[in-house]
Amino acid sequence: MVPVQYYLALAGALFAIGTVGVALRRNVIVMFMSIELMLNAANLAFVALARALHSMDGQVIVFFVMTVAAAEAAVGLAIILASFRNRMTLDAAQLSSLKW
């Protein structure tokens, strides 16, 4: 069987890739997808640790994370749609009217 550390290291790698995606890309939808990637990396770590500790609680937390991710996707994409209607752009560098 694969040791749990390998799963955790894979989750860490996926999380780091998601972090790079948020910093690297300027398209807000791709930034959003990178956030989903980071959430999935955290889910993988939860499930791996739940398996190693013989507990079901980790899987239940993954269930809640999925629910929150679905709510986040619905609200976030609605915000993206509304801002695209007003600004006609998805470039995060141009959505800077809150910047002082």
Binding site: M1, V2, P3, V4, Q5, Y6, Y7, L8, A9, L10, G12, A13, L14, F15, A16, I17, G18, V20, A23, L24, R25, R26, N27, I29, V30, M33, S34, E36, L37, N40, N43, V47, L49, R51, A52, L53, H54, M56, D57, Q59, V60, V62, F63, F64, M66, T67, V68, A69, A70, A71, A73, A74, V75, L77, A78, L81, A82, R85, L90, D91
Partner: protein, 169 residues
């Protein structure tokens, strides 16, 4: 070290997951990014099955690869997005990739060298990860959290409708 079937599947699936995650963040076209993300989510579902979490794997495919990704693709096609207008400057790209590499190395080192839990994943009773076990934990131990989640979904639905309405001030 003798590789069992579990190790072989883990390394193949892990490699595909990391490659498609790089595809998500590096491909200039958002539709391809979304499709790479679907591939990555499926690989994570396979890892969930390797970890005896069948129910969570099904939810992963249904909710993430099904519902959430359809929402993403719907918005991308509704907005008729093409390639990114301009990419980030090369120096910034280098800095973020370098910092991300440092973060990944740190996380990998921490988990491989310092992880607290037992190293080997041993045998476990066959009921682990079944729908029955998940439902018992969810509806008995975490019943209050489950009810709060339904309120969260209601609020998110109302918020999405209000934000998505045309002609809002």
């Amino acid at each position: 070290m003798i590789m069992g079937i579990g190790e072989i599947i883990f390394f193949i699936v892990g490699a595909v997951a990391i490659a498609s995650a790089f595809g998500v963040i590096l491909h200039p076209h958002p539709v391809y990014s979304a499709l790479f993300l679907v591939v990555a989510l499926f690989q994570i579902a396979v890892l969930f099955i390797l970890l005896d979490a069948e129910m969570v794997a099904f939810l992963q495919v249904l909710v993430y690869a099904g519902a959430i990704m359809v929402l993403f693709l719907f918005v991308i096609m509704l907005l008729n997005l093409g390639r990114d207008p301009e990419a980030a400057p090369a120096s910034w790209k280098l800095v973020t990739l370098g910092l991300g590499g440092v973060l990944g190395a740190e996380l990998g080192w921490f988990f491989l060298r310092r992880a607290v839990p037992p190293a080997a994943i041993g045998a476990i009773d066959p009921a682990y990860g079944s729908v029955t076990a998940l439902a018992r934990t969810l509806f008995v131990d975490h019943a209050l959290s489950f009810e709060i989640t339904s309120i969260l979904l209601l609020v998110a639905m109302v918020g999405a409708i209000v934000l998505g309405r045309r002609g809002v001030d």
